[in-house]
């Protein structure tokens, strides 16, 4: 059974139809990259998955549990919504670390507030995560003392601390200097090696090619082409061909 089923997601902002019927499934441990030019709806799709936006139509099913169904008019309560969000983690383009907290505090804040575990266990796990993203010596630093690449790696550790089923990345390297993208991509790659289920919105075509099990090319709010990484070598649609030659 698929860990994620997305059925016919549609979303408009006023008269701007951003998503016009998105369907896909994802298996446990798979890495999905979503590519496409800006304005094609990639970010909106991620935001719908994370309940930051609500689709006008469609369903989202995680592990057989329908976490979103637009045909049910009743809006979920805040508590229900919080539960549903926890299936997903989201790493933002511009990190959004909490500036007043140290690296360790950023990673432990949510698990502690939501009492996911004992204080000691939360801290122990957080330290493991921080070490796994290569920032053991920055545990007590504040975000303003870190480079963009380091901040993004903390953001990844922070998202992992909530043990999400599916980790989403919204252009995780787009706000970084080119020499800093490598360290972030390396962390994402190591998560893929550990079979973390991930959805990555990215403009890094080489990376998407290497790390993904599936690739979705979005254009104008629909999936214009999808398949394995080989679609980047041999695109069949004219639109994907045109998109790839722009790189």
């Amino acid at each position: 059974m698929a860990i994620l089923e997305v059925n016919n997601i549609r979303k408009s902002f006023g008269r701007n139809h951003v998503l016009r019927g998105i369907d896909f499934t994802l298996e446990q441990g798979e890495v999905l990259s979503i590519i496409g030019s800006s304005g094609s709806g990639k970010t909106t799709l991620l935001r719908c998955l994370n309940s930051l936006e609500f689709a006008d139509e469609g369903q989202i099913v995680v592990n057989g549990d329908t976490i979103f169904d637009a045909s049910i008019n009743k809006r979920p309560s805040e508590a229900e919504l919080r539960q549903k969000r926890l299936h997903f983690g989201l790493v933002f383009q511009n990190f959004n670390l909490f500036p007043q907290y140290s690296v360790l505090e950023n990673v432990t804040l949510a698990p502690k507030l939501l009492k996911k575990d004992s204080k000691e266990a939360i801290e122990k796990y957080a330290l493991e995560l921080i070490e796994s993203v290569g920032l053991k010596d920055k545990v007590n630093s504040y975000p303003c003392e870190l480079s963009g690449g380091q901040q993004q790696r903390v953001a990844i550790a922070r998202a992992l601390a909530m043990k999400p089923n599916i980790l989403c990345f919204d252009e995780p390297t787009s706000a970084l200097d080119p020499e800093l993208t490598g360290e972030v991509l390396k962390v994402i790659r190591s998560l893929a090696d550990k079979h973390m289920t991930m959805i990555i919105v990215t403009h890094e075509m080489m990376f998407a090619h290497d790390v993904s099990d599936k690739i979705i090319f979005m254009d104008g709010g629909v999936i214009a082409e999808h398949g394995g990484p080989e679609i980047l070598d041999n695109p069949t649609s004219e639109r994907l061909k045109a998109f790839l030659t722009s790189f």
Partner: protein, 229 residues
């Protein structure tokens, strides 16, 4: 009593009494205006248009007219219109009227500072809290509040230091604050008359107090300088 050394203890005593009234007005204004300003800022940011428009018009009127005029209106208006001294007579009545005028006036200024502080925290901070499963109140108290405070400390310290000196405007309705106390020695008080130095000397009190506040706010800013928001 013509010599300065004879006058000084008497003047010092009287100015202290006046300054106590200044401090009282200062403290009561902060106590009232800091929370009222928050309510007004929420009102001005309300998605309910009639409320936000109404609040913004109120803020425009209060910030667009002199505080001295507001003091005079609040003090005299009830008596002139209803023929009744709503605030009661004497010094306590004058204090109540002054406090009301100052609280309303400063709450409007504070509300604009709060609004800037609240809207200045990037929405990404709230979204980061949401995707981690935090509740709205956890996000407010544990994520955004301190960032807002950091943003509003410099403009708030500016307003609060202005308030120290603005309290002297209550002189216009004869509140017996320090300017009133200093001026009394020109006309004659405690056996001293025609002395202008006590009025000038009130400046020392203002300087000392605003200096103290400057140090305090500098310390707070430094405490919050460990992060960038």
């Amino acid at each position: 009593m013509d010599s300065f050394t004879e006058q000084f203890p008497i003047v010092f005593q009287a100015l202290n009494v006046g300054f106590l009234q200044t401090l009282k007005l200062f403290g009561v204004t902060l106590l009232g205006a800091i929370p009222l300003g928050l309510l007004i800022s929420f009102g001005s940011m309300s998605k309910f248009k009639p409320l936000s428009s109404l609040v913004r018009i109120l803020v425009w009127i209060i910030r667009g007219t002199p505080l001295m005029l507001q003091l005079l209106i609040i003090f005299y208006f009830p008596g002139l219109v209803f023929g009744k001294q709503l605030w009661g007579g004497g010094e306590s009545g004058r204090f109540i009227a002054s406090a009301i005028a100052f609280i309303i006036n400063y709450a409007c200024y504070f509300s604009e500072i709060y609004r800037g502080g609240i809207q200045g925290v990037p929405h990404g901070q709230t979204e980061a809290g949401l995707v981690l499963g935090l509740s709205r109140s956890q996000i407010f108290f544990r994520v955004t509040l301190l960032q807002m405070i950091k943003r509003i400390v410099p403009p708030m310290s500016n307003e609060i230091i202005t308030l120290v000196k603005d309290t002297s405007l209550a002189r216009i309705i004869a509140l017996q604050e320090i300017i009133w106390a200093g001026q009394a020695f020109m006309k004659g008080s405690h056996g001293i008359s025609g002395a202008i130095w006590p009025l000038f000397f009130t400046g020392v009190y203002y300087l000392a107090f605003s200096g103290l506040l400057t140090l305090l706010f500098g310390w707070v800013e430094k405490k919050l300088s460990y992060f960038k928001a």
